[in-house]
């Protein structure tokens, strides 16, 4: 869902596309299609999104490698097919089509930004294949062919706001975001939620900035000003990855401490912090469903394996990586249950599948194709890791249609037969309300 500025990458994507296409066709033909089960990996390896997506490609290669060591799936080896959509949204659709039609993959793991997901969605529905989408997003969508393993707004944004309200006694809110679909939808949901909790409109400040915004002086000064009304103030940040570094640097420079005005971020994880000196940020918060610092045997094993696989002791793990871990294991389980990789049968077998997550519990696939997850709130530490200060006692089921938006509060999704509908309107009793 995090979208990065796409100013000029079509040239390079064409080049990269050619290169990848050539590589794919040289690498594959030796093997007959029946020996292996092919798994598509659709993550940008060049262009502006490479910063986030390259890691996800690596983690998929690791998971597939591991599964093959365990003997593969249905007695066959798994074979990864990597393509590079080069941060170019239309190219995502093209590459998805290539993966499904030409390479005949059984499932695809990919996408990061919402716009790339929207771009490939019609392809998956038309060619009836499966996409696992690993990133937290704005919700308001449920497709039969997509499994959303990242967080829906109620699995990240709302618990974070609840934490600040209860533990930090926050009464005044700054909703700061980058100007595109994910922050705008999330902030709309949050604004409605806060108002439903009795927060007055004058206690909410909403601020949008362009992509890659680098001069935060006036906005941070504004936040300080807004925070001096005598009520405890917090910032809820849906600011996109690239703009975060200058934002946090400015916060540190202007002395906005987490004790006074805490900032809770939904797009800042271990990888984003790798480029910042975190000493001035001590105590600022992030809400995710996974942190590298979580101490469970499963997580330690995962981190160890990741460092060994990448041969780099400094590589960090993050939330979307865990989402792929969960999604991949769910797919493996569903394929084993269905006894085939045929998408229709796997899709039906997916609902109800439950696999261990890395934070010491089990995540289950719901009928709306979202999963159950714990919600964790972490505080930034000096070493660039997060210290978990709050964890929901149970698992939170993902809610695709927000209850706080008038357009979607009557909608539900249930892909089990006989309903099989992504937007069932409980008021009218018909499938097909607003949205897609």
């Amino acid at each position: 869902m995090r979208t990065k500025q796409l100013t000029s990458s079509f040239g390079i994507s064409a080049l990269a596309g050619l290169a990848m296409g050539a590589m794919a066709s040289f690498a594959m033909p030796a093997q007959a299609a029946d020996d292996t089960i092919k798994v598509g990996i659709l993550h940008s390896l060049s262009g502006t999104m490479a910063i986030s997506e390259t890691t996800l490609k690596d983690v998929m290669l690791m998971l597939i490698d591991e599964q093959n060591k365990k003997g593969g799936l249905l007695g066959k080896k798994l074979e990864p097919v990597v393509v590079d959509p080069a941060s170019n949204w239309p190219l995502f659709a093209e590459k998805a089509r290539e993966l499904i039609s030409k390479d005949k993959v059984s499932a695809v793991f990919g996408c990061w930004t919402s716009v790339s997901r929207k771009s490939v969605l019609p392809v998956f529905e038309e060619l009836n294949n499966i996409l696992f989408y690993p990133v937290q997003y704005e919700g308001e969508e449920s497709s039969r062919n997509v499994f959303y393993t990242g967080a829906a707004p109620n699995q990240q944004a709302i618990p974070a706001v609840d934490y600040l309200m209860q533990k930090e006694k926050v009464q005044r809110w700054v909703l700061a975001g980058t100007d595109y679909v994910y922050p705008r939808t999330t902030n709309k949901i949050l604004e409605a939620y806060l108002k439903s909790k009795g927060v007055k409109p004058e206690d909410i400040m909403i601020n949008y900035t362009p992509f890659g915004h680098s001069d935060w002086q006036s906005i941070v000064a504004d936040i300080k000003k807004f925070g001096s009304a005598g009520k405890k103030t917090a910032v809820v940040s849906t600011i996109n990855g690239d703009a975060n570094v200058p934002f946090y640097k400015e916060l540190g420079n202007q002395g906005v401490k987490a004790e006074d005005i805490p900032v809770v971020a939904f797009s800042v994880g271990e990888e984003e912090l790798a480029g910042i000196d975190t000493k001035p940020l001590l105590g600022h918060l992030a809400a995710w469903n996974y942190f590298q610092s979580v101490e469970t045997p499963a997580n330690s094993a995962f981190i160890k394996e990741w460092k060994a696989f990448t041969k780099n002791d400094k590589r960090v793990t993050n939330d979307p990586m865990e989402a792929h871990y969960i999604g991949f294991n769910m797919w493996v389980k569903a394929v084993e249950a269905a006894g085939t990789t045929e998408p229709d049968k796997v899709i039906d077998a997916m609902v109800g599948v439950s696999v261990p997550n890395l934070t010491g519990g089990y995540s289950a696939m719901l009928p709306n194709h979202h999963i159950t997850k714990p919600v964790l709130i972490g505080e930034v530490q000096e070493n660039g890791q997060f210290d978990v200060v709050s964890k929901t006692s149970g698992l939170v089921p993902g809610d695709e249609w927000s209850d706080y938006l008038p357009d979607s509060k009557d909608l539900i999704a249930d892909w089990r037969k006989p309903m099989s509908c992504g937007n069932f309107n409980v008021k009218t009793g018909k499938c097909g309300g607003k949205g897609s």
């Binding site: 000029s8 890659g212 005598g230 200058p246 987490a258 004790e259 105590g283």
Partner: protein, 540 residues
Amino acid sequence: MRRALRWLMALCVVVATSTAAHAADLRPLVQALGSGGYSGTEKALEQLSETGDTAAVPVIEALQAGDLHVRKSDNAVVIARKSGDAFALSDPLSGQALGQATAADVTRIRINNSLRRAISASLGALTLMSPDAGVRRSAADAVFKSRDANALPTLQKAIDKEQDKAVRAAMEQARAAILLTGEAASKMTDADIQSAVDTLAARGDRDALVLLNMVAGSGASDVTKKSAAAAISTVEQKLAFWAALQNLWYGLSLGSVLLLAAIGLAVTFGVMGVINMAHGEMVMIGAYTTFLVQEFFRAHAPGLFDLSILVALPAAFIVSGGVGIIIERSVIRWLYGRPLETLLATWGLSLALQQAVRSIFGPTNREVGAPSWMSGAFELGGLTITYGRLWIVIFAFAVFAALLVALKRTWFGLSIRAVTQNRPMANAMGIRTARVDALTFGLGSGIAGLAGVALSQIDNVSPNLGQGYIIDSFMVVVFGGVGNLWGTLVGALTLGSINKFLEPYAGAVLGKILVLIFIILFIQRRPRGLFALKGRAVEA
């Protein structure tokens, strides 16, 4: 009152007994810090600071620094400081060394935001009597923030004893803050309230405004509310004045960043006429050079880290300038006089350079640290000026002045001007124009590299760094007048200021759009920019 009595008794104990004796009294409380999670630690901390015993200060400081650990073998609370791979243990109260332990032997006592607040509050209350004026000052500020009524008796004593005027004022403000917001407010006389409000109004900053707003919004008496409201309007007026100045500073600061980014382009595009789309990548290369220099310092001379930026400056100039010369010799020199081809070629180059850097350094951001003299901020009246920005403003003007001198006062500058104004004539006078072209392009690129060193302090060091600045740079150069350095200066500062004055009213997104519309309209009226060049050179 009971609390005050208890506190006084505690103080007597402090004065009367030896350190060893009351260390024993503190020990159970220190021990309690290590159990019960966040709430347990917070409770123990509260009791610890209620003793008013300054012997607790090192323990609380260790807790703040994250050095306080629980030893797993006997659950004792110890200070564990990293020494090499192991931890050196010591007793939190006596400071006695307790040997070594590995990371697996101890568990850190974790702190969260609410504990951090409590820690600074209790450290404030406990260090009000410190012999060091600086410590007393920060203690007063901490008490001002925490408004902890328990600290009031100590605060009173500290005020009576205080000799230093500034510290005394800070302490009085802290007292006013406690009196106005705590339970004590209801028992105070109107005159007392008035004096407390006056003290806060005299402070006149945002923190004071927070308190005054709290007083005005609380259930206080009408008299209190009225005097608070009057004080609020005075403070707000004062703050509005400073806010205008602050905007001016932000404008200057953004302007200087634009100037730095654009000034190299003013040479390659403005003087030479090359539409250089790879200009942003020269900035990016400068930033990565800074990263490499800092890595070198981190690895080989961590003590001299503060100087790394100074070393990075010439290094970035040479690296970016060198790449510039290579580009000029290999690509651009074949394309002089063909602007469209130059545009496409340099754009392709910029993509190639980005991907090259992405392949070498990886797609993720690289950490470039700020030297100590570039971090933090200082207050100037009501202005908050960050050191990093201040140095960038100074640096931008220094680079501008140096470039101006180089172009106007040196032989090299003379040749550049001669070649760009009349190439055949310069050639006839014996100037090797091809070499001048290469060096000029190298100079422009080198300056972009210098900009990269400065921008690495405020922006991401990532392969996309340059893209964020290329459009702005062209805007500045075109707006200021192509070929005129002074135009670039005025253009950068004007655009910076307009942007910053629009931002509070229109928001960052709309502000940017408005600036763009303004430039379009301006160029319609004056196609040659603010400072148009006159004379034959323009036609060439």
